[in-house]
Symmetry: C2
C-alpha cells in the first residue's frame, strides 16, 4: 500500500490525496465526492461570507460523514497606495476601451477580507477535521485554538524558508506548492515571482527541513505524479487542476473547453487580476500587463480594477482569467469519485 | 534493478544517469570518472576550438574505454541588430562604471560558433558513442550522418512541442529539461522565459508524446529525484548541478563556496550574460538587467558586452555568473565515481 502513512493517520483518510480547495470553483458536490471516495475533499471559503460558509458546511455534512478541509486566505490586509492606484488605472485604461467600458473605477475595495476573529469563531463552531491556509498563517494563537478544537492545520509554502517558518509556527503538515501549480501561489512574501521553485526541487528540500508530513503540489496530474511525489519524500499530494475537469466543479463552459485543448506552455503567472501571482491561461491582457513590472494594488483590491474586464470576458477572450496548472493537458473528464479511484490505482500500480 | 532499460541499451551504459556536459566546467577527469563508474560522462565542446575538442577526446579515451557524450550547441547564428546593441550598451554602461571599466565594447563578436560542417566532420572522425545537442538540432542530414556513423543522438527539449519536433527529426532520445535546471535552457524558440515548465509537469507530457526514451533533467539532486523521474515515465536522468560539487570540475573557489551555501530560492533565469536564458545564482546585475524586457544582442554575442564585467567579478560579486539549478542545496561534495555509486544505491533502495 502507501509507502508513508503519517499523513493518512493525521487526516484520518484512506488515500493521501487532497483535492485543492480552489475558491469559487470547488463545490460542495466535489468535496463530498472526493471525501466519500476516501481522499480529502476541500472547500475554498476565503471569498465567501460567513453565512455561505456555514450553509456549505451544513450541505457538505449532509453529503459525507468523512473528514473534509476548509481553506482560508491569511493574506496581509491590503494597504492603499494612491500613486500605485493612479498608475494602474492609467495602465488598464486601454483595455477598458477595448472592452467598450467607459470608466475605470476610482476607489478600490477588497471584495473579501482576510482570515479574522469572526472567521476563527465560525471555524471553532464548525470544527472541520482539517483547515488549510494560503498566503501564510493567521496569528499563532488562532492556529493553537484551531488545534485545541481538534482541527488539523495545513498551510502552503513555496520556499524552504516559508516551510521552516510554518513548521516553527506549529502547523500539522505543509503543502509544498511548486512552480507548476495552477491558481494563486501561496507565498507569504511578495518577492516570489521570479524565484518560483519547481516541485521536483522544492519537495525534497522541504522534506529535509521540516519534521511534519509534506504534501506535494504543482504539476501532479496522475498516478505517475503521485508516485513521483512519494519518491521525493512527500507523504501525500494536493491536486487542483486534475479535479477541475470533474463534472462537479463550477467552472464555466469556456474554462472547461480551455482545459480540453490545454498544452504544457499555455499558462503563465499573472498579478494582473488579483494583485497576487496566480498561474492562469495566458491572454493578451496578461501578456501586456506582464510587461509592467511596477507594483499593482494589493491583493485582493486589484479585483476592483480587473473586475469589469473579467465581466467583459464573455465577449472578449482577451480578458479571461482561467486558472490551471502546467499539466492540464493530462486531465481526464471523470466524476470525482472515479478520478480518485483511478489515481489510487495508477499510483499503487507504480509503487 | 532499473524499471526501464531502453536507455541503458541505447547508450550501452550500466546506470541511467547522464552527467550534464556543462561547457567550461565539466572536465575530462569528470567525464572519465562518471563513465568509468557506469554512467554516461559528457564533455561540453560547444565553446572549444576543434583542436581542443580533439585533444580532450584523446585524453578521455586514455582515461576510459566506456561510452561518453560530446555536447554541442546548435543555436541559430547570431544576427546583429544595431539598435539592440546601442540600447544594450546604454543599459550596461552604469555597470561598467561601477566595475571601474571605461569603455563599453563597440563591435560585437561571437566568442564561439554554432555547430557547423567542420564540427560535423570532426565528430564523424571522432565517433563518440553519444552526441547531444542544446538549443535545437543541426540540419537533419547531419543528424542522419552521425547516426550512420554509430553515434547516438540526444537533444534537449523544454516543451512538448520541441520534444515532438525532435522526435520527428529522428533523435534517439530526448532530454526533457525542466524549469529547475541550472545553466542555459536548451529551448529552440525565444519565447521561453515566462513559460518555463517544471520537471514534474514536463516529463510525463513528453513521455506521452514521443516514442523514444526520455531523459529527465532539472531539479534532480539525489536518488529521490531519480526515482521520481522514473515514476514520471522517464528512462533516465541528466544531472548537472549535482556533479558541480565534485572535485573533478573546474569551477572557481567562489562558485564552489556558492554551492556550499546555496538555498532553494537563490537562482533566477537571466539573459544578461550570454543573450539566452540561463539559470544562475542571482546578483545585483542580474536583477537590474531583468527589469529590462527589451531584446538583448543574440546569443552568444552578448558575451562581448558582459565579458568585461565577468572579468571584473573577482573584485565585485555583483557580476558573478555562477550557474546552478534550484536543488543545489542538496549537493554532496563527493568524487564523481562515489557520487554515481551513491546515486545508484539511493535510487535502487527506493525503487
Amino acid at each position: 500500500m502507501w509507502p508513508r502513512t503519517d499523513l493518512l493517520k493525521l487526516l484520518k483518510v484512506e488515500h493521501p490525496i487532497v483535492q485543492a480547495p480552489m475558491a469559487g470553483t470547488a463545490t460542495v458536490a466535489l468535496a463530498a465526492a472526493v471525501s466519500n471516495a476516501g481522499a480529502l475533499g476541500s472547500l475554498g471559503c476565503a471569498e465567501d461570507p460567513l453565512v455561505t460558509i456555514r450553509q456549505n458546511v451544513d450541505a457538505l455534512r449532509l453529503a459525507t460523514d468523512k473528514p473534509f478541509n476548509l481553506n482560508f486566505f491569511a493574506h496581509r490586509p491590503p494597504r492603499e497606495d494612491r500613486a500605485v492606484v493612479a498608475r494602474t488605472r492609467d495602465l488598464i485604461k486601454p483595455f477598458y476601451e477595448q472592452a467598450g467600458l467607459t470608466k475605470v473605477p476610482d476607489a478600490l475595495e477588497a471584495p473579501f477580507g482576510t482570515f479574522d476573529p469572526d472567521s476563527l469563531s465560525l471555524l471553532l463552531a464548525l470544527r472541520p477535521a482539517v483547515t488549510s491556509f494560503h498566503f501564510g498563517l493567521p496569528e499563532t494563537a488562532a492556529v493553537k485554538d484551531l488545534q485545541k478544537a481538534g482541527c488539523i492545520v495545513l498551510c502552503s509554502a513555496t520556499t524552504v524558508a516559508e516551510a521552516k517558518a510554518l513548521n516553527e509556527a506549529g502547523v500539522d503538515a505543509i503543502i509544498a506548492q511548486g512552480w507548476e501549480a495552477g491558481g494563486h501561489r501561496g507565498s507569504v512574501d511578495s518577492h516570489y515571482e521570479d524565484f518560483g521553485i519547481g516541485t521536483m526541487a522544492l519537495v525534497p528540500q522541504i522534506v529535509d527541513t521540516v519534521d511534519v508530513p509534506v504534501i506535494a503540489a504543482g504539476g501532479i496530474a496522475d498516478g505517475r505524479g503521485i508516485a513521483a511525489a512519494f519518491a521525493l519524500g512527500a507523504s501525500g499530494v494536493q491536486m487542483g487542476t486534475a479535479f477541475l475537469s470533474c463534472p462537479e466543479t463550477s467552472i464555466s463552459d469556456v474554462h472547461r473547453a480551455a482545459l480540453r485543448n490545454a498544452v504544457d506552455q499555455d499558462t503563465r503567472l499573472t498579478r494582473a487580476f488579483s494583485g497576487r501571482p496566480a498561474r492562469a491561461r495566458n491572454s493578451r491582457y496578461i501578456e501586456a500587463m506582464a510587461e509592467h513590472r511596477a507594483p499593482l494594488p494589493d491583493f485582493p483590491t486589484m479585483y476592483t480594477l480587473s473586475g469589469p474586464l473579467l465581466d467583459a470576458a464573455d465577449q472578449d477572450r482577451d480578458f479571461h482569467f482561467l486558472l490551471h496548472g502546467q499539466a492540464a493537458a493530462l486531465n481526464r473528464e471523470l466524476p470525482a469519485a472515479e478520478l480518485v479511484r483511478t489515481l489510487v490505482k495508477e499510483t499503487l500500480d507504480l509503487l
